[in-house]
Symmetry: none
Subunit: 90 residues, 4 copies
DNA sequence: GTGGTCTAGACCACA
DNA sequence: GTGGTCTAGACCACA
């Protein structure tokens, strides 16, 4: 059995760094915005951690922190070994 | 990919305190002099903040202020999590 | 105003590494045991992060993860810029 | 304190697959041969797991199994988060 | 081939 | 002088 899922290939919006805010918070907000706007739809997989790290220009650990925030907000579900998936629109 | 860089281990010159000038300005000038004289060459990393604080006998916040001045002067670039690097000679 | 607090200087118990369990979980459990046994009493400050990192032989980030667990368990409170303090016995 | 170490960039010898022997055993033997011949010297870091996986054309799990064998033979030491290092010649 | 843990050590924010 | 963030890149666990 296999499931076809949408995987985002690149950032839908540019991200402007606000030096007064932590990067992982900015990244979490940026991804949340894409979920709210329907760029990332329910059930869609986020790009893989290394891809996100490269797109946002940060280390993998920073992406992990951002994803933790999205999990706390109930926006995504992490399936170990499979990927990170959108749960619902914000 | 990795790059070998020169890291200064200690002060190249002694520093004399002028009580009429802020220490962070003096430290900025002192480091600028080392860049101008080629003691710290383009691409070189400055010593870490705690090391500079100890060598100059000041708090780390004072070093941070001095580095901000050097950034404003376009002499160094701060790369978060990596270090502070010489951009060009003054 | 100042407050006298007890600061632990070294590990009260040895810690045996169980390679099947994450180190930050082991460290959290190990510190919890010291709180339960009264080695670390209410209001006491934990050793500083660098000290704990050295005692447990891990990186600072691993200590941070262990402390996050202790915070979730309601055992300690982190006061940014001041230290980490025992809230209550387990 | 830091130490400069030698890191192997590619295979020193070609490897011929013997279909009657498990690949992870072959890979362990192949690496052991390089240690015995001094291609990988004491203290040297093995190439990273993904690099070895690509060079041998196997999954990373297979490399992990080969490294386990080398550990059992006392030839290498795995330091989590740092790398895998040659302990002594075979 | 994903996400998770971990290192060593950098600068940052707070008190 | 504390804890926090962040890097670059290692091995680990899971599917």
């Amino acid at each position: 059995m296999s499931t076809l899922i949408y995987v985002a290939d690149e950032l839908a919006y540019p991200i402007d760094w606000d030096p007064t805010e932590y990067r992982y918070v900015q990244i979490a907000n940026h991804i949340e915005k894409q979920i709210q706007d329907g760029v990332l739809t329910e059930g869609a997989a986020l790009p893989a951690v290394p891809a996100l790290a490269e797109e946002y220009g940060v280390a993998r650990m920073t992406i992990k922190r951002a994803v933790e925030i999205l999990v706390e907000r109930g926006l995504v579900t992490v399936l170990r070994g499979r990927g990170t998936f959108v749960r619902r629109r914000g």
